[in-house]
């Protein structure tokens, strides 16, 4: 819905290779501030009571103009706080699962109030681990940084704009592997116990990021074990990679030493 109502805020963009990491972010929780216009005068207490009914599990049917099938679906709303009101305008802060329609929440609050309401403005303040405080930049800042790089040979602004894609795995457990174990994974091998140098705690079946000793991401995969089992393992699969981020042959081959079980 172009331009109307005005929707702004946190939109993390993955560039080229980093595109592969964006599902981690789009599948994570969101936070918004939103201005709702109520179509009649209301009692503050009544509004608060109605708003509270939208916290927890709610049912939503996607709006007519939406990009998904219009099938009623369940979504979890973690919190709604009324920050401020001015006449019939209500400023709210909402945290929810991805795919929750703020427009619909405003509409449905209006129905319960009896006179209707709609969303006037919306700003996303968080998408997964990315917030307004984590290096948020405007299109103008990108354009200026790019100009400085291209025409003035100064890349310092551009480095402030571009976050290394590794930050995307901030919220998941990580394992660090030996230089020798890196290349096999880029060729599709599993991460086996001998390659692991260090790890954060994880459970079996969790998303785990495989990192080099330099801190580069090699791949994201699903853990095959609980992390407390690693200490006693001499061999066996630790992580099954699902998405490989690193190109092949950046690191030397270490097949013979590491990949024979």
């Amino acid at each position: 819905m172009r331009g109307d109502p005005k929707v702004t805020g946190v939109l993390p963009i993955g560039m080229e290779n980093a595109t592969k990491l964006m599902s981690l972010i789009s599948k994570a929780g969101k936070e918004y501030v939103c201005i709702m216009q109520v179509h009649c005068d209301y009692e503050m207490n009544e509004l608060k009571e109605i708003v509270n009914q939208f916290i927890g599990e709610i049912y939503q049917r996607p709006p007519v103009r939406s990009s998904v099938k219009r099938r009623t679906r369940k979504r979890r709303v973690y919190s709604i706080d009324i920050l401020e009101t001015e006449g019939r305008l209500v400023l709210m802060k909402i945290a929810s699962e991805p795919g929750t329609y703020m427009r619909k929440i405003c509409h449905d609050i209006g129905i319960l109030l009896g006179c209707g309401a709609h969303m006037r403005e919306l700003r996303r303040t968080r998408s997964g681990i990315f917030t307004e405080d984590s290096n948020l930049v405007t299109l103008h800042e990108i354009s200026e940084a790019l100009y400085m790089y291209k025409h003035c040979k100064d890349e310092s602004d551009l480095r402030r704009v571009l976050l290394p894609m590794e930050f995307a795995v901030c919220g998941i457990p990580k394992v660090v592997i030996d230089d020798d174990a890196v290349n096999a994974i880029t060729y599709g091998a599993t991460l086996n116990a001998p390659g692991v140098v260090a790890f954060q705690n994880f459970k079996r079946g969790e998303n785990v990021a495989i990192m080099t000793l330099k801190g580069e991401i090699v791949a994201i995969g699903e853990s095959n074990i609980n992390s407390n089992e690693i200490q006693n393992m001499k061999k066996g699969i630790v992580v099954k990679p699902k998405r490989v981020l690193m190109e092949r042959d950046v690191y030397p081959k270490g097949w013979k030493k590491n990949e024979k079980d």
Binding site: T8, I13, M15, E166, F167, G171, Q231
Partner: protein, 83 residues
Amino acid sequence: MYKFLEKIDHFCNYSNSWNILREAQTDDKYGFYPDKRPIEALIRNAIINLDKPAGPTSHEVAYWVKKMFNLNKVGHGGTLEHV
């Protein structure tokens, strides 16, 4: 272990303690430290936390970024249109 790993966790205040199994060295001949990648490599392995302006759609904005940097593909972390 390279300190950039701690920086990653610090980025979103993630806390999960590290268990070190053994000492290991990395050879500087291979790969790059993520915060020291040459700028051309960084451009193809980066995320921009963009403040989407009102007006254009998320897809349009992502497309502009793609053109500005002359990339083959970009992806965004959840469209802002349908919300």
